[in-house]
């Protein structure tokens, strides 16, 4: 009979409603640096949040996701940084780094060629547009973000951008709540590598909402590398609206958080676009990693290729709900979804669920899910070449991760995502 490790202590957790109210009180309703459209959203979101509690088990989308860890985080803005203690590596060549912790003070910086900030009427026209189109404006995690977020980083991407845009937050050991908002509008034919890096070491919440509007024949290669502590929470919403001919790839590598909830929501509003989603989540201890993805095609001939991978050890838990919506107008859609989980412990848990809503009759949609331990035949093959069992297991785990990590934008190399995943791994 395996012994269960003790649950993390729960110091002075507030009830959900009290926690939200305390947070709203601690975060000002208005900031001088906010532009009018964001302020309007902020006030609306605060109003909506005031009368709600945390989502709980009664809501299908949150059924497996215990948010109680959130209420142990001090409900106040993140403490200010104590001097420059950051140990980030230098950006890769051709990469332009935007430290979100220092935003918006550096807002007047010189942007790379082809990247321009959106202000005034342009911002008003674009802010929240993708959220509305993807019907995520009133998602709880979006409301929370809208109610307290820093000024949005809103950018227009013109064709010809050659740098990778790296947006980074690192709350280090500090406690509290930080909320970041990013809005990208890719013009027709534009192409961008975007790398999001969110790191934390203290009891903190990192809330991030990314909205991206992809113009016709534009390409967004989007990487997310997120790593946090057992007492940290990540809530990440990524909403993307794709015009015909556009190509969107999202590669997300996530580890360490006590609770990580990621919600990529893609809309191919007229079909005829290409989406690729790649996820790798490593859970251990009592961590929960929850991915709820939704891809909706509202036009014909759209394509999706989705692979969600999980490594679960100790008492880690992973939840994956992959929704694909193919209404009548989305004929000749091609969608493939695969969930692959490695269960390295008897006490880890995987909940994985494809959710295909297909009305169109001329489509090709495949889905599959595997949950297994390391493959014995693979282990034996490596051992039969002189490689000791623990090293063979490490090689296999590395290979399992490498398939996803290798698809991150190349600028991610300076964050050594694979090493940070593997260095803390327990031996199977």
């Amino acid at each position: 009979m395996p012994t269960l490790s003790p649950l993390p202590s729960r110091p002075s957790a507030l009830a959900g409603t009290s926690w939200i109210q305390a947070l709203l009180q601690a975060c000002p309703a208005s900031l001088a640096t906010l532009e009018a459209p964001q302020l309007k959203d902020r006030l609306a979101a605060r109003l909506a949040l005031e009368s709600t509690s945390l989502p709980g088990k009664r809501e299908e989308a949150w059924r497996f996701t215990d948010l109680s860890l959130l209420t142990q985080i001090p409900p106040r803005p993140l403490e200010p940084a104590l001097g420059s203690t950051q140990t980030q590596a230098s950006p890769a060549p051709h990469s332009w780094r935007l430290p979100l912790d220092a935003w918006p003070e550096i807002g007047e910086t010189t942007w790379p060629e082809g990247i321009e900030p959106l202000h005034g009427p342009e911002l008003e026209a674009q802010l929240g547009r993708v959220l509305a189109a993807t019907e995520t404006t009133n998602h709880w995690s979006v409301l929370l973000n809208s109610a307290i977020a820093q000024p949005v980083v809103a950018l227009r991407i013109r064709p010809g951008v050659r740098t990778c845009l790296e947006v980074v937050s690192d709350s280090e050991q500090r406690s509290g709540v930080q909320a970041h908002r990013l809005l990208l509008v890719l013009e027709e034919g534009a192409c961008l590598d975007l790398l999001q890096v969110h790191q934390a070491g203290g009891p903190s919440l990192c809330s991030v909402v990314v909205e991206a509007q992809l113009g016709p024949h534009s390409t967004l290669r989007h990487g997310q590398v997120t790593h946090g502590p057992n007492h940290g929470v990540l809530l990440a919403m990524t909403a993307v609206n794709q015009a015909p001919g556009s190509c969107y790839t999202l590669t997300s590598v996530c580890s360490g958080w006590g609770l990580a909830r990621q919600e990529p929501v893609i809309l191919q509003s007229e079909g005829q676009a290409t989406s690729q989603l790649r996820g790798l989540h490593w859970v251990k201890d009592h961590q929960i990693s929850d991915t709820h993805s939704r891809v909706r095609f509202t036009g014909p001939e759209g394509q999706l290729d989705q692979v969600h991978k999980v490594v679960a050890e100790a008492e880690g838990r992973s939840v994956f709900n992959g929704c694909i919506q193919v209404p009548r107008e989305a004929q000749r859609t091609k969608a493939a979804q695969l969930s692959r989980s490695l269960l390295l412990s008897d006490r880890a848990r995987i909940d994985t669920k494809p959710e295909l809503e297909i009305v169109a009759d001329d489509v090709r949609c495949t889905h599959g899910a595997t949950i297994s331990r390391l493959q014995q035949n693979e282990l034996f093959y490596l051992q039969s070449r002189g490689i000791a069992a623990p090293q063979a297991a490490r090689l296999l785990l590395r290979g399992f991760c490498e398939e996803i990590v290798s698809q991150l934008p190349s600028a991610s190399q300076s964050w050594s995502p694979l090493s940070s995943l593997l260095q803390a791994e327990a031996r199977p």
């Binding site: 034996f380 039969s384 070449r385 490689i387 090689l395 290979g399």
Partner: protein
């Protein structure tokens, strides 16, 4: 090359084994000396591949009786990786695909494990690349194979050539090649057989498991063994393989019937 005074590399005595309580080997005896090339033939299901996997230490099989000595040492007490490091090599009938693990990295780690056992210096990435490029010529493989994942997306012939490449890097004392010729076209068979011949020498030995004379046309065996019902039923020279090619295996049934109840067949 038969030299009666050559050291014995592998000695199998009365080996009985099973998988999930199903007995498969019923007393295998086989002695292999340095410099020898042995061919092991027999019908499907006769126990040839099982024997090879047991020798390599596959965890699914259990040895119920008998001994195996590798260079005088009890082989069965060693882990699969220890066997490989000491110089036992199994070329897989179905080489395993390992997505995400680069072939180059895999070959380097394996080679260094063997070198460490031999007391040789481990090779860094650069020195290993020099070595592996040299060995690639043995199997006429393109260097682009090194950048791919282990066996992933390889054709049947490429997988078998990759096995021989591993053999060329690990320089085993005893190489067991389990149906290395299956699924190969004529050119690939020639390349693979040529590689095996290049690597065979006076100080090592090869056990070829095969169904076909065509492999033995390219690699002349010193001994041919016929396996049936979990034991070696007959041993002869290279002409035994030709006889099998002409006569098939019907005689095996008659011989087995005479042997009932099962008793081990002694080998000279």
């Amino acid at each position: 090359m038969i030299r009666p005074d050559a050291p014995i590399l592998l000695e199998i005595r009365d080996l009985h084994a099973q998988i999930e309580d199903q007995p498969i080997l019923h007393g295998v005896n086989l002695t292999i000396r340095a410099g020898e090339i042995h061919a092991l033939m027999g019908r499907n299901g006769s126990g040839k591949s099982t024997l090879s996997k047991i020798l390599a230490g596959h965890p699914a099989y259990g040895v119920t009786a008998g001994t195996v000595l590798f260079e005088g040492e009890d082989l069965l007490s060693l882990s699969p990786e220890e066997r490989a490091r000491k110089g036992l090599f199994l070329g897989f009938q179905y080489p395993v695909e390992i997505p995400g693990v680069s072939n180059l990295e895999f070959l380097r780690v394996a080679t260094n494990a063997r070198r460490q056992h031999l007391g040789e210096e481990e090779l860094d990435t650069f020195s290993f690349e020099d070595l592996v490029r040299d060995r690639l010529q043995v199997v006429q493989m393109d260097a682009s194979f090194l950048d791919r994942s282990v066996n992933e997306g390889f054709s049947g012939g490429e997988k078998k050539r990759n096995e021989i490449l591993q053999m060329a890097l690990l320089t085993p004392e005893v190489a067991i090649l389990d149906e290395t010729d299956s699924g190969l076209d004529i050119d690939a068979l020639r390349i693979v057989a040529g590689g095996v011949c290049q690597l065979a020498g006076p100080n090592n030995a090869t056990l070829l498991i095969t169904h076909y004379q065509r492999l033995l046309d390219a690699i002349t065996p010193d001994f041919v063994h016929v396996m049936a019902a979990g034991r070696i039923l007959r041993t002869g020279g290279k002409e035994l393989a030709l006889e099998l090619e002409a006569r098939g295996y019907d005689w095996v049934d008659e011989e087995l019937a005479r042997l009932q109840p099962a008793t081990p067949v002694e080998m000279s």
